[in-house]
């Protein structure tokens, strides 16, 4: 029985629960004596029984899905020969992966060795049993729940209050998911980062000038031969972000000013959606464009004026990233500029200022906190942007401020270190998490400052 069939079954049971719960009180409604009538409308009793039926069963299924793999893997690896079990974690994982692939049929049996085939057989047997156990348990729990719910119905029971409370708990749980996500992010990057700093001292990571994680190929080499000085990466990230902001801020701000202060309503109605398209283009498309069109263009232009431009120059990546951020800056600034009260403009115009004088001397200074907040958000975006730099910036960690050379960024390194097969706890992989932690903290600080500034600004004019 597949999972979808099981879910369908649970759904049918739930519907049944609703119907019988409702039917049970429907009769009581006809009582002449008001005090004999049930507290809530019949459908609430139906809902109540339905909740009793579905909720525990769904919890069982979800827990099962999440832990099935872990438990089964544990069981299978216990059955493996002792020498296989003694292998380092990384290799063991690869073997277990093979076993799973054989069991599911993604890998042909003929190519695998007997140990794996046997384990795979074992695994698929376990998988089978596990699915049966899951199905039976889930249905049993659903039936029990239904029975309990049905039994608990009596006229004084406040079914509506029960249902509303259940919904409220659901609502609270959903909104608390945001906190859970943040906690999840912090923990998932923090733990691996701590393990990384066990192997590579923090001072080397933060102040080292040489980055070449690729040399640490074998796990027994540990951190000793790979060098993890992240300064060139930070420098590269800052360089590309700076180029991007040099493009995005003037263009974005001027576009916003034009849209908010000069453009006719019709022009605005056309231009704004067009800029939104620019904002909605996936970054992978920008990356493709940067690598395929912009980088060669830069190189040719550079050659024409006698400059050597690397084929993966920071300039090309930064430029395209800047273009990507223009609509971001412009829409945030547009909001802020239109929030400046008209009275402020009138005051200036009434004194005989031209429009541009009013904008430069009154509107922009008044909107400045909001604009700064928006720009900070844009910086955070530039630092965290991945695809453009992965496709158009280099891998080599050069420590330079020359925009014509190739540099690498934090995000490029994370992607490079984590794609491709490697043991999960090699310092190389862990380094990616350390970089991720850094990225998260940096953008977090920028975001919080930016959101604070913008909010304060909004409150000022509301």
């Amino acid at each position: 029985m597949t999972i979808s069939l099981l879910l369908l079954l649970i759904f049918i049971l739930t519907a049944t629960g609703y119907v019988i719960g409702r039917a049970r009180v429907a009769k009581m409604r006809n009582q002449v004596d008001r005090s004999e009538r049930p507290h809530s409308l019949p459908r609430y009793y139906g809902y109540m029984v339905a909740i009793y039926t579905a909720l525990p069963a769904l919890v069982v299924i979800i827990l099962w899905i999440f832990f099935e793999s872990t438990v089964l893997t544990g069981l299978v690896s216990k059955q493996l020969p002792a020498d296989t079990q003694a292998l380092p974690q990384g290799q063991l994982n690869l073997i277990l992966n093979d076993i799973k692939n054989i069991a599911v049929g993604n890998m042909s049996q003929s190519t695998a060795d007997p140990v794996r085939t046997a384990a795979a057989d074992h695994f698929s047997r376990l998988l089978d049993n596990s699915q049966w156990a899951r199905n039976i348990l889930a249905i049993l729990v659903a039936l029990l729940g239904m029975f309990f719910g049905y039994r608990s119905i009596h006229k004084d029971q406040r079914a509506r209050v029960f249902v509303e409370r259940a919904i409220m708990i659901f609502l609270i749980a959903c909104s608390s998911l945001a906190i859970l996500t943040t906690v999840g992010i912090v923990f998932s990057v923090l733990f691996e980062s701590l393990r990384f700093f066990d192997k590579v001292p923090f001072s080397e990571f933060a102040f080292g000038l040489h980055w070449s994680p690729q040399t640490a190929i074998r796990t027994d080499q540990v951190g000793s031969s790979g060098s993890f000085g992240a300064v060139p990466i930070f420098a590269g990230t800052l360089l590309i972000s700076a180029i991007a902001m040099l493009v995005a801020v003037p263009f974005g701000l001027m576009s916003a000013i034009y849209l908010a202060e000069y453009a006719s309503p019709t022009a605005r109605a056309w231009i704004k959606p067009l800029l939104e398209i620019l904002a909605g283009i996936p970054t992978v498309v920008y990356g493709f464009f940067a690598a395929l069109t912009m980088a060669p263009l830069m190189r040719n232009v550079g050659e024409a004026i006698g400059l050597t431009v690397a084929s993966e120059s920071a300039l090309a990546a930064g430029l395209v990233m800047g273009i990507m951020i223009i609509p971001f800056v412009s829409s945030l600034s547009d909001d802020v500029i239109t929030a400046v009260p008209q009275a402020m403009r009138d005051g200036s115009l009434g004194l005989g200022a031209t429009k541009s004088e009013t904008i430069k001397n009154v509107v922009i200074p008044a909107a400045l906190p909001g604009i700064v907040g928006g720009v900070l958000l844009a910086v955070s975006r530039a630092i965290g942007e991945t695809m453009i730099v992965v496709m158009a910036a280099g891998l080599a960690a050069n420590l330079t401020i020359n925009p014509l050379e190739a540099v690498t960024t934090v995000t490029v390194q994370i992607v490079t270190l984590l794609t491709g097969d490697q043991a999960f706890d090699s310092p190389k992989t862990l380094a990616a998490f350390a970089l991720g932690l850094l990225l998260f903290i940096t953008t977090l600080i920028l975001n919080i400052i930016a959101l604070r500034t913008v909010r304060k600004y909004r409150e000022q004019y509301e």
Partner: protein, 441 residues
């Protein structure tokens, strides 16, 4: 001047005034020039942004457009059992394994009998795509009685011929500098004059999964992967986001916990997407051991990522429902939850849906977090379940963009066109919803 005392005589005052207007008059031309310049800067900024958009779309369309056609070559294939390596009355499993490429090669040699040298033969074989044998295989399995006869089939040509036919190959280059050689051009031209070459709509592109051969590569696998991933994302994020928005906007007491939730949501909306990928890798793959490369995990990660977007826009939609409607329903004795479910939510729904579509569009274009959870593997098969290994359209674009074959440049561009078409469609729906249901209270 202007600092004349209020009690100054009338003549004094009038000189002061004259002076003001003269001073202003003297500088006003310059100030207007500055005004014009400033305005021009604004216009230039907008035009530059828009022309970049045009440039991007035009370059990609020009590069991607040829990928929607494919060249076919007519070939007389002799299906003799020897060449195919079949005995009499073969069953299907034998038919599956038969040597179709041998048959194709043989018929190519027959078409051009004067090709003798080994090197030339190799060049000749390259005219037909490696995928041609699968097309032939399909035809033979469909009609096994044809074995032993000669069959006229249209087979897809190889990548180089494809490029040549679309005019991408620069024939003016010296022969050494191009992959497509003079003898190959000769063969193709002679076939062309026999009307044995034709250009058709490229169905392969939509009907096949990924491939190492550019002319055989298609986006079907990626499209299905995208669809599955987005379904998971939608199913998870929509109810959760609406529930969270309803709670925060309608019920949440103003306390520290609520503040914390709000700060978290606003911040998560601005966290780089790759960080969500790290979360997915550490939690879903390494801790819960969910399958790598699966749409299920992709959907989980993307829904965590799009939740803040949908929550924020749903809250805005809920906020725009005027309190008078809530008061009216409350006054009739509805519970607060009933008010929300019966009145507020339906009124806010267009806004919520718009936000959801925009969130889904964002998820559709996302690449980086999916790289982290292994959706970057080379996968030929079309996924059918949320736990199958799969890839998605943006990741497919990323992978193809990295490949050196010229044919993949146009495939990449074509895939981008498909992706952009979907995005524009989704945004158009969102804009339509917003315009249609926009209500001023």
């Amino acid at each position: 001047m202007s600092n004349s005392e209020p009690t100054g005589s009338a003549t004094e005052r009038s000189t002061a005034m004259r002076n003001t207007s003269e001073i202003v008059k003297a500088s006003v031309k310059k100030r207007y020039a500055r005004e014009t310049r400033f305005r021009l800067f604004g216009l230039i900024a907008i035009l530059a942004s828009l022309s970049f958009l045009a440039m991007l779309i035009i370059t990609i369309s020009i590069k991607g457009y040829p990928a929607f056609t494919q060249t076919f070559m007519q070939l007389e294939v002799i299906l003799d059992a020897d060449t195919l390596g079949l005995d009499e009355n073969p069953d299907v499993s034998q038919l599956l394994k038969a040597n179709y490429s041998g048959a194709i090669k043989k018929s190519l040699l027959q078409t051009f009998p004067d090709v003798k040298k080994r090197k030339d033969k190799k060049a000749l074989y390259k005219l037909i795509s490696k995928g041609g044998q699968y097309d032939l295989q399909k035809k033979v399995i469909a009609a096994p009685e044809l074995i032993g006869q000669t069959m006229t089939v249209w087979l897809p040509v190889g990548d180089d011929v494809n490029s040549y036919m679309k005019g991408i190959v620069d024939v003016n280059l010296p022969e050494k500098k191009r992959r497509f050689k003079d003898n190959q051009i000769g063969w193709i031209e002679s076939l062309k004059s026999d009307n044995r070459i034709s250009q058709r709509f490229n169905r392969t592109f939509f009907e096949r999964g990924d491939s190492r051969e550019p002319e055989m590569a298609g986006i079907k696998g990626a499209l299905f992967g995208t669809m599955l991933t987005l379904v998971v994302t939608l199913v998870l994020s929509f109810p959760i986001a609406v529930a969270a928005a309803v709670y925060l906007e309608e019920f949440a007491p103003r306390n520290r916990w609520t503040d914390l939730i709000e700060v978290n949501i606003n911040n998560l909306a601005a966290v780089p997407s790759i960080v969500f990928g790290l979360l997915g890798l550490a939690v879903f793959i390494n801790f819960f051991h969910l399958p790598r490369s699966a749409p299920l995990v992709g959907g989980l990660v993307l829904s965590l990522m799009t939740l803040p977007t949908i929550i924020i826009s749903s809250r805005a939609a809920l906020k725009s429902v005027p309190p008078s409607i809530r008061d009216a329903a409350l006054g009739l004795g509805a519970s607060k939850l009933q008010v929300v479910i019966h009145h507020v939510l339906p009124l806010a729904m267009p806004g919520i849906l718009t936000g959801t579509i925009i969130g889904m569009a964002q998820a559709l274009g996302e690449t980086a977090p999916l790289l982290m959870i292994g959706m970057v593997a080379f996968i030929v098969d079309v996924p059918t379940a949320v736990t199958d290994p799969a890839t998605v359209l943006p990741v497919q674009i990323f992978q193809w963009a990295d490949l050196p074959e010229k044919g993949f440049v146009e495939k990449t561009s074509a895939a981008i066109m498909v992706l952009l078409a979907f995005l524009i469609l989704m945004n158009a729906v969102a804009v339509y919803l917003r315009r249609k249901f926009e209500r001023k209270w």
